[in-house]
Amino acid sequence: MDGEYTLEITNMSKSFPGVKALKGVDLKVRKGTVHALMGENGAGKSTLMKILYGIYEKDEGEILFKGTPYKAGSPIEAIRSGITMIPQEISPVPNLDIASNVFLGKEHTFAGALSLVNQKKIHEETAKLFAELNIDLDPHLMMKDVSIANAQLVAIATAVSYDSDLIIMDEPTSALTEKEVEHLFTIIRKLKEERNISVIYISHKLDEIFSICDDVTVFRDGEFIGCNPVANMSKDQLISMMVGRSMDEFFHKESAEIGEVLLSVKDLSLEGQFSHINFELCRGEVLGVAGLMGAGRTELMEAIFGYTQPDSGVIELNGKPVEIAEPRDAISYGIGFVTEDRKLTGIFQELSIKDNMIMPDVPSYLKAGLLNNSRIKNECQVQRESLQIKTPSLEQLIKNLSGGNQQKVLLSRWLLMEPEVLILDEPTRGIDVGAKAEIHRLIGELAKMGKGIIMVSSEMPEILSMSDRILVMHEGTLSGEVSGSEATQEHILQLATGEGINKEES
């Protein structure tokens, strides 16, 4: 049996102040296989990967890598020993070309005190590497001109160039289209079959697990739940392993009564982003907005919220045109917006959960000019309980929460304001199944209360099960509108890719 596994982690534990993140977990990755690591947010996946990558130190447990005890003190040590991680958000150097990015830190140089880089050689080697991996990219291209999908491939090539035996991929497809995902999978298969490389594949997307992975290990709340070959499992089994509940409990949208028109958008255009957008949102309605990456959905929402200024068009609330020059105007009209990028436009990392919740509405918590702490606590506590935000205290800094819990805090930020219109941009991206179900339940409740909800989402099941009506965008225009009950995945995809436009009623 010697040498069957590339990586064997046994009985690994790790605690942070107040939290036991890992409670004696195991992870055994066979040589030349793709091993899925699954679990809700906060299950301990990232913590384990960070230990492996030398960012955290373990408390207890043993790691064998290629049969010998392994310990990394830093990512560089990990890379040198043969483990590379491709993070969810890769950050290449934009003003260097592809080849320079691939060889960053291990450049071929000419002899001499200046250590001049042998550009010709690194370009040749990059081209050779790309040819072997079937990556069709010009190594001379500047990184800033490379799409996210291609940057992902460059990152994989970089990992291969380190002669890695194990590559960790954290949500590698979260920004990719289906076609790009297919290409990525072809390359992953090549890695394992031709180079005997093992991959730890972290993802929340079940379809991907079943199409690319050999084995799957599931964690829940820091505990090891099980490890099985993917071929022996069904999706429902996998989900119940992750959440300890069955699939039936998800995706419940109670139908609400659709009322009068709340928001109407007329002929809204912003050059280069979207053009001539018209739609209406009614009370009690969940309006899904589907489309591919780059279709202009987020940009449209940002313009409605006043984060950017449209070139032309009118926004009406309750039949009256409104002037929205800044987000604060939108908020004053009762519009809330949970943005797509939590880190960039959502959370205040260094502030407490409480402060993060009240930020859009601080003036209403004042008493004699000062913050009324007991009222803030009470109202935040209500949110914490109703959304089941897992935290030891409301004073906890939000950066210490898992992604799903951060998202719940951001949601409660707007719930506290009781908005009339709530815009949700990818409300459940990258969060676990349990938190997802709770957020879906909440969306349903809000609709029932007569609020209007706009939900931008790239996840088909979410769009299909939650929406009363679905708008589909394609390259900055509305390519179609489908009723939620009649919509099919195929139809929406046709509209999103621009194929079905002519068939749609004019």
Binding site: F16, P17, Y56, F305, Y307, E326, P327, R328, A330, I331, S332, F337, T339, L344, T345, G346, I347, F348, Q349, E350, L351, D355, I358, M359, P360, V362, P363, L366, G369, L370, L371, R413
Partner: protein
Amino acid sequence: MTAEKFKDSKVSFGAIFNKYGIVFILIGICILMSILSPAFFSVRNLTNVVRQVSIIGILAMGVTFAIITTGIDLSSGSVLALVGVVVASFSQTQIADGQPVGLIMPIFFSLIIGLGLGGLLGGINGSLHAYGKIPAFIATLGMMTVARGLALLYTAGRPIGYLKESFIFIGGGSFLGIPVPIWVYAIVGVISWLLLSKSKFGRYVFAIGGNMQAARMCGINVEKTLVKVYAYAGLLSAVSGILLVSRTAAGNPTYGLSYELDAIASTVIGGTSLAGGVGSIPLCVVGALIIGVINNGMDLLGVNAYWQQIVKGFIIVLAVLLDSRKQHKK
């Protein structure tokens, strides 16, 4: 049970030390100074230290607000000087030999004008930064040079003396046995603490420093808040200017040279991060006291002035080094 309890208290002590480690450093330095120099630990000397610290300490509070928003205020020393000479010129006695520089008016009005001028200059800093989209470093660097130039121009480079007794009381007098500057420092400290930790303005300051885009998304008027931050810093520079001029009984256009650097040092020693989003007024006071105690202690020990500078430099870097080690340890 008891073991658990012990463990808990150990954890919380660690947390307290992490957060307030700088307070222990101040206490440590005080103990060290008391041992080295018997003159140090006396009411008289300690009062003296706090009074000396008050000028820089008040500047540092304004700087704290600016730094939390990821900005900086380099103009505080120069604004102090300009406000100082203007207030002095309005506060001269009638019987000066020669002509008074400015219009003589009741003390109350000259103070109002001084504070207004400080707030205005700060507001200009803030507007240039927020609406003109100029980095705060550059906007306040410009103001630093201009305000200094104006102070020199206004006085033709000469100090303004012959100040009224009632004016001199502000910096030189005592109330209930405590020097007035200490009272002012305490009051400004309490107001700043309330503003930063308990008010809407303070939440917005932290929000902008922590994540400016998210702050906008939360409907915060980022530009207006920034103008207020720098106006407040300017106002505090004016307060310091008034204290310094009345204490020395003269308005000198060269006052406050490089005070902005001591103020920034106090802020940073107090744990305010230059990356923004983190900071506290009480710890800013502690930072200023550390600098004051070290200055005073070295004076008492007769340390050569050149060495004093070197030691101070080391301490600033050391304090921040400790802080960043603390941040990175997980």
